[in-house]
């Protein structure tokens, strides 16, 4: 079964855009949460990752902070 991928991002953050590009290029379906519009989700992101930097990617509960290509590949099995 495909892993559940959620990305917490802001519209202006360059590495959020790069992360989303990377996921799209690899045909990974993901849910996108714009934390600038949703305060509760922003809190959720901070709680999950223990920090406030975007992007945060949640892959079946594994949390990846920033555009970390190596860890994304490894976690998604690419």
């Amino acid at each position: 079964m495909a892993k559940k991928v959620t990305i917490y991002s802001t519209p202006t953050c360059p590495f959020c855009i790069r992360t989303k590009q990377f996921l799209k290029e690899n045909n990974i379906k993901f849910e996108e949460i714009d934390v600038s519009l949703d305060e509760a989700k922003a809190e959720e992101m901070i709680k999950k990752s223990g920090q406030m930097g975007v992007p945060v990617v949640d892959i079946d509960g594994e949390i990846i902070v920033g555009f970390d290509k190596d860890r994304l590949k490894e976690t998604l099995g690419l």
Partner: protein, 303 residues
Amino acid sequence: MMYDLIIIGAGPAGITASVYAARKRLNFLVITKDIGGQTAWSGDIENYTGYQFITGSDLTAKFEEHMRRYNVELKENEDVIEVEKRGDTVYVKTTKAKYKTKTAIIASGKTSRELGVPGEKEFKNKGLTYCATCDAPLFLGKVVAVIGGGNSGLDATLQLIKIAKHIYLINITPKLTGDPIMQEKVMESSLVTVLNDTKVTAVVGDKMVNGIKIKKQGQDEKELLNVQGIFVEIGLMPNSQLAKGIEKNQWGEIKVDSYNRTNIPGIFAAGDVTDVPEKQIVIAAGEGSKAALGVFRYLNQLK
């Protein structure tokens, strides 16, 4: 394994150098922390020839695509710690491995300057950030501090006016130094308190930032401001610590001649890490191409 060339960095300078090196069929390697360097962090770009408008992310993607077209050997997420020439060999030491090469191009660029105060490292990304463009939206309705009265500090302040509840703009010099038009906008806002002649002495917090300690010039007592966010915008510093025995100017930028040669034969440098005036994407790209052609010429003379 002895390479002809190792390129350190994959911003506009390093990537352009790699394209030229590939076309000259050099046996080379690119080692870099990330792709795009500062270009990846840029918002809108309207002065890179050929593109009337392109975002930093899109231009970075174009750069990467161009480099990958040549099957370049690329080590990503790898930090170079030291570049040193001993005898005829240049040794490149990274966080993961050691490499040998005949020549090197240092194109390691610049990164955000740090405050160098207690608490800064501990609270990085825990309320303290160097990228207002990225993280400002997370501080909706919060009290924040922006450090730096230059253009990037004013730019961060203007972004935050639409988001934060209150902004302390902390500036070490007697007056703001950014463009007057931006200063006027900042002064017009009732949400901003400008604190000139003021130094940051510490960042404090629990799990996340909850305050910043400041000290006014000529006064002894420190003041604690309760803030939940800190935006550090005090300029950039060259990533030149890795260059051993290589001449730098007073700002730590690597000195190069008009052929991108450093004082060490076989070690070249290009882009924002060098003392070449004007830091621009188009200039870094041009310098990268010059450096690669310089390396090609140098290698031919060795034979």
